[in-house]
Symmetry: C2
DNA sequence: GGCGCCTGAGAAAGCGCTTTCATAGAGGGG
DNA sequence: CCCCTCTATGAAAGCGCTTTCTCAGGCGCC
């Protein structure tokens, strides 16, 4: 059916072993022989069967990336980073949606082990380390943004606490004192870390932590939108630090509907720096996570691990990006 | 190293053939034997090596999706659609970035053929049919949004012409007469089709086509932003139909900077209905492409083709979504 | 001129499955 | 009671590569 290494060998008048050597640059082959083989390959349009090669070498040159949901706008840049680095190193990338569902995660990991992928990047996993290893066996793993209890896995993370600290300190420096926080889901480590940064900045400024100004949302616009209602009921505030850009956008929309202009009446800061922050009105002040760079780095670490290295984890700094949604508090009354 | 089918066979006291039959539900196996095998599988934590299976069956249960750039906000929903359907049908998805570069496209296709993927979904390809087939051999293909000269490939497309027609007719119905168009790259079919819809709507309304009101951009915010300058130099207009949402957002930003309020002074319509259209200010009137549904459908057609069917193409209708960026033309002067 | 060594290339096994073919044994019918 | 027909299972080949082992021949050296 397809042309095989035997066809090429026959055409070139050599053995399959020699064709293999030419193809892989392994072993020594006389120049004339090499040319004959290359001619045969070209003439037959031969493309080696990598499944067979993988079976023989037990290397698939395939990496996998598992994430909850690619429509979360933080992920595409990350995926691109992983993908491009993988491609540069001649790896191919499998993509999987887990929907943050532990059963699906586990099922996926089993499939990946079965497919003998060389390594896996895990983002937003909910599974614990024991079950991951149980499903995945020895396959090298890089984990994003989760201090997972996975022996041997390198972790790539962002300093969420530090980023949140920067955001809130920015608001404090503008003169805000009543700063609310629209948090992420309590059970995610990143939510907790950002909340921590918020508290730390308040503490550093000598301000008390006021739990009524912290409401939990779910990282969506709808969540941010809904959070504003609860916040307005809770008490006056002149600024909001939202745990991510999507909810910040929801917050801005809700404030606007209530006649609370941003940033004139209320300042808003987000987190992530998704692409569209620069194009909303007002443009959104936020904390940038270097998603693309993180993706590249994760892929790099993974390939290191695949090739026998023992890579250390990396922590990326988050960076404050000041745009149009923050300003000094209004002289007059505040919201709520 | 890893546990193989031989280990399972030994443990269960049967032959590998029987284990294979149990695993695949092929052939007849006595109930008692089946139970013994299943117990052995569970006890050893056996996960079949799918590379070996693929070599034996020449089926990999892997699909590939090639697209120019996943950070284009239109794509994530599409990817998700493909991915989820693939998963439901027990296929795994390979993702590739082509960057709209024909060389990379061709290289990728070769790799995919080598990896013996069962089928490929091609989005935004620049290669012609002959080279695609040359690189990919007989592998089944579904093409998105491009009437490609690829015999045997099913095509999933959106009625761009019809969608653009709806957008412009909406503007006409509001009373606009001077309607500009920020087009996409001339060499892409979708750009041309949307331009066509624009012209048709004008023609239907008995309005002349005025080339000076059509400027080419590149589907980015920056492109839309820059287009406004050229448009303002070209002549007065009270509405802009942008070829996609990203450029529409750039257009809105540029208009705002020139003091041309949207929609009070100028109305703007986009195309795609990316997620954030509902959260910009003003919210963006646009033409929705059902990206998720298209992804699912493409995957469905591909799997049909893989399993021996001969699927027909599908055309999705585009739908006008009226939001806040369009309104009747201002009584007074227009922009430009 | 003979010997050892090095280079280039082939033979064959093995990677972990599937699947065809063959066969032992269990029933059933005459 | 024998033969035939199924049913359940095993043996072995084959999928298309890689890689080890082996060997033929050419060369340099003494």
């Amino acid at each position: 059916m397809d042309v095989t290494i035997y066809d090429v060998a026959r055409q070139a008048g050599v053995s399959p072993a020699t064709v293999s050597r030419v193809l892989n640059g392994s072993g020594r082959v006389a120049a004339a022989t090499r040319r004959r083989v290359e001619a045969a390959v070209a003439q037959l349009g031969y493309e080696p069967n990598r499944v067979a090669r993988s079976l023989a070498t037990s290397v698939t040159h395939t990496l996998a990336l598992l994430l909850p949901d690619i429509t979360n706008p933080f992920f595409p840049a990350l995926v691109k980073g992983v993908q491009l680095l993988a491609e540069e190193r001649r790896y191919t990338l499998l993509l999987g949606h887990t929907g943050a569902d532990p059963e699906r995660e586990e099922a996926y990991l089993r499939v990946l082990r079965g497919k003998r992928v060389d390594g896996v990047i895990l983002v937003g996993l909910t599974l614990d380390g024991r079950r991951i290893r149980g499903a995945l066996g020895e396959v090298p793993v890089v984990v994003l943004d989760r201090p997972v209890d996975l022996p041997g896995a390198a972790v790539v993370r962002v300093d969420h606490r530090g980023g949140a600290f920067l955001a809130v300190r920015h608001l404090l420096e503008l003169g805000h004192r009543d700063i609310a926080h629209v948090a992420g889901p309590r059970d995610l480590a990143v939510s907790r870390e950002r909340l921590e940064g918020y508290r730390e900045a308040l503490a550093e400024a000598g301000l008390p932590y006021r739990p009524e100004l912290v409401v939990e949302a779910d990282f969506t616009e709808e969540g941010g939108y809904a959070a504003v209602r609860r916040l307005c009921a809770a008490g006056p505030f002149t600024a909001v630090f939202a745990a991510n850009d999507l909810s910040a956008i929801g917050v801005v929309a809700a404030l606007r509907e209530r006649g609370l202009a941003v940033p004139d009446r209320v300042s808003v800061v987000g987190f992530d720096d998704i692409h569209l922050c620069a194009y909303t009105v007002p443009t959104l002040t936020t904390v940038r996570q270097p998603a693309y760079a993180m993706g590249r780095r994760a892929a790099e670490l993974l390939i290191d691990a695949v090739q026998g290295g023992d890579p250390r984890g990396v922590v990326f700094a988050a960076e404050l990006v000041v745009r149009g949604s923050t300003g000094p508090p209004a002289g007059g009354g505040s919201a709520g």
